[in-house]
């Protein structure tokens, strides 16, 4: 029998290859300090609206504590199909084309596992959410990053996409509005990208978790373009719009064959999402719009306030059109993103996330979340102004 030299050898090669999240070590330093104002938080600062929490409590009171169908409760799936149909004009059969997942993260994971054969290339735009590249690797695919740029407002350009397509390309992941840049994808660019996806027969995973947090009106989705529904896995969830991160409810809408494939992974890995959370999510979809709009208006005001102050500081910053992140350039300071974030933390006790945590293209930027109360944001910009002036 083969003897192993250390415990590390028990860990699979492809898992060993995944780097630790760039946020992780930074998180530990922040946690060890006191009086830090954090602009590094990727979740709403609002507590879930009371009527949604109350619905969860009521669900428990009624004794709804069992498993649900693998795909999710019929009531929630019906409501999701209704919402997506009304918002985007794309109709899904709730019985066979909607799957409720444990957050969008799980939906993304099972979608990738459902479509990737080992070695398939999956394209994604960068800077991007931290999980995209590792999730592809875990599904035995090859992640291929396509850079986006500040001068384009961090929008994915179709010509950059075209250059990245190879015969091995299986799919494209989109996330607009984007974490960490707040970029949205204009319709004209969506059309060009859709044409390429059809031409090269790509599967599209569109993660639209921030779609409701748009400051430029209702955003169209690439899924509603001709020829896209049959090749698209539409992903959304409740965490950001309804401040429900801890409930962990996301969903995927996709043609029946793809939904069935995802369900096969989901049924063995997760079985189903929590019934309490599903009941809460149903309440959010039915009656949550007013509270959601109120939160969005608050985010909009904070965004305006932050953009104003960053420009005063001389940190150039495009105005994000969605999500709750600002992604200012710190290149003018001559520091790397990590140095900037580290020194800002040590000298002024303000935490921001170094841009390189979101991929190589994020170097030279930091992510500042405005999912933090206005009075905290005010103090944070004062401290940052002192810091930048002293550089």
């Amino acid at each position: 029998m083969k003897t192993r030299t250390s415990n590390a050898s028990y860990v699979a090669d492809h898992v060993q290859k995944i780097p630790r999240s760039g946020i992780r070590d930074f998180f530990e330093i922040v946690q060890s300090m006191s009086d830090v104002i954090s602009l590094g938080i990727g979740e709403p600062d609002f507590v879930t609206p009371w009527h949604i929490r109350e619905a969860a409590i009521y669900s428990l009171e009624r004794g709804r504590t069992g498993y649900t169908s693998n795909l999710g409760t019929p009531a929630l799936r019906r409501a999701i199909a209704g919402f997506v149909g009304k918002r985007y004009g794309v109709e899904y059969d709730w019985k066979s084309e909607v799957l409720v997942s444990v957050g969008v993260s799980e939906a993304l994971d099972i979608a990738l596992r459902a479509i990737i054969n080992p070695g398939d290339e999956i394209l994604y735009h960068e800077p991007c959410y931290v999980s995209y590249s590792p999730s592809v690797v875990l599904a035995h695919g090859c992640p291929v990053a396509i850079p986006t740029r500040q001068e384009d407002g961090f929008v994915l350009r179709a010509e950059d996409l075209e250059r990245a397509i190879t015969p091995r390309t299986r799919g494209l992941m989109l996330n607009f509005p984007t974490n960490p840049t707040g970029a949205v994808l204009p319709r004209a660019e969506q059309e060009k990208i859709a044409r390429l996806c059809i031409k090269h027969d790509l599967v599209v995973l569109t993660d639209e978790i921030y779609a409701d947090l748009s400051y430029v009106g209702e955003l169209p989705s690439i899924v509603s373009l001709p020829g896209m529904r049959e090749r698209t896995i539409f992903l959304n969830g409740f965490s950001k719009a309804y401040a429900m991160t801890g409930f962990r409810i996301g969903y995927a809408c996709a043609p029946a064959v793809l939904t069935e494939a995802m369900m096969r992974v989901h049924q063995y890995a997760m079985l189903c999402a929590s019934i309490t959370s599903q009941d809460a999510a149903l309440e959010a979809l039915k009656n949550g719009e007013a509270a959601m709009i109120q939160m969005r208006e608050e985010y909009r005001r904070r965004r305006n306030f932050l953009v104003h102050h960053f420009n005063l500081m001389g940190l150039s910053c495009h105005e994000p059109q969605g999500a709750f992140y600002l992604f200012p350039s710190i290149k003018s300071t001559g520091l790397s993103s990590r140095e900037f974030a580290m020194r800002l933390l040590e000298e002024q006790k303000v935490a921001v996330v170094p841009g390189d945590a979101f991929g190589a293209g994020g170097e030279g930027y930091v992510r500042c979340s405005y999912a933090t109360a206005m009075d905290q944001i005010e103090v944070a910009v004062q401290r940052m102004a002192v810091f930048v002036k002293g550089l």
Binding site: S21, I23, F26, F27, V30, Q31, V36, S38, G40, I41, G42, E43, D45, V47, Y129, V130, S131, N179, E297, R301, R302, N304, F305, H308, H309, A351, V353, A357, M374, E378
Partner: protein, 159 residues
């Protein structure tokens, strides 16, 4: 205008500068609009909400259901305005249903409130009856919870 009101309703101390930065509008515009709303009595007052118990103030509050006789021409308005003018009356509303006016009265002790009701309010010509309910505890006032919700410990950094 609505946007400015939304901000001031949440934080009456918000400066014109801060509001202008949140709304991307020139600060002079914001200042002028606030002044205009004050002059037009759109904004009636800026007040604070106090937890009397923590401030060690003994206040007694009562809700009083008042039935009154409507008058020719004036309806309920003249009598309602007359009642509302008393300093003890903190709020006064015309209601549908079983009674006409809902009056909220405040005083430093029970006796003062009771005296006000029996000697001032009930004796006004046109007041038919009163039913007084004393408030025992306040949980929420003008949209503000007295027991502030515990802000849960959010992770200081999350993706």
């Amino acid at each position: 205008m609505q946007e400015i009101l939304n901000i001031l309703e949440q934080d009456a101390l918000a400066s014109a500068e801060k509001i202008s930065q949140q709304l991307k509008r020139p600060v002079e515009d914001v200042r002028r609009q606030i002044r205009q709303m004050e002059e037009d009595n759109v904004i009636l007052a800026y007040k604070i909400i106090v937890d009397d118990e923590k401030a060690n103030r003994n206040t007694v509050k009562a809700v009083i259901e008042v039935k009154i006789t409507p008058e020719r021409e004036g309806g309920f308005n003249r009598l309602a305005a007359r009642i509302a003018r008393f300093d003890e009356v903190k709020s006064c509303y015309l209601m549908s249903g079983g009674y006409d006016l809902l009056v909220i009265v405040e005083g430093t002790d029970l006796k003062k409130v009771a005296t006000f009701v029996s000697e001032k309010l009930a004796t006004i010509h046109g007041v038919l009856s009163t039913a007084t309910h004393f408030m025992l505890k306040t949980y929420k006032e003008q949209g503000t919870l007295y027991a502030q919700e515990q802000v849960e410990e959010r992770l200081p950094i999350s993706p």
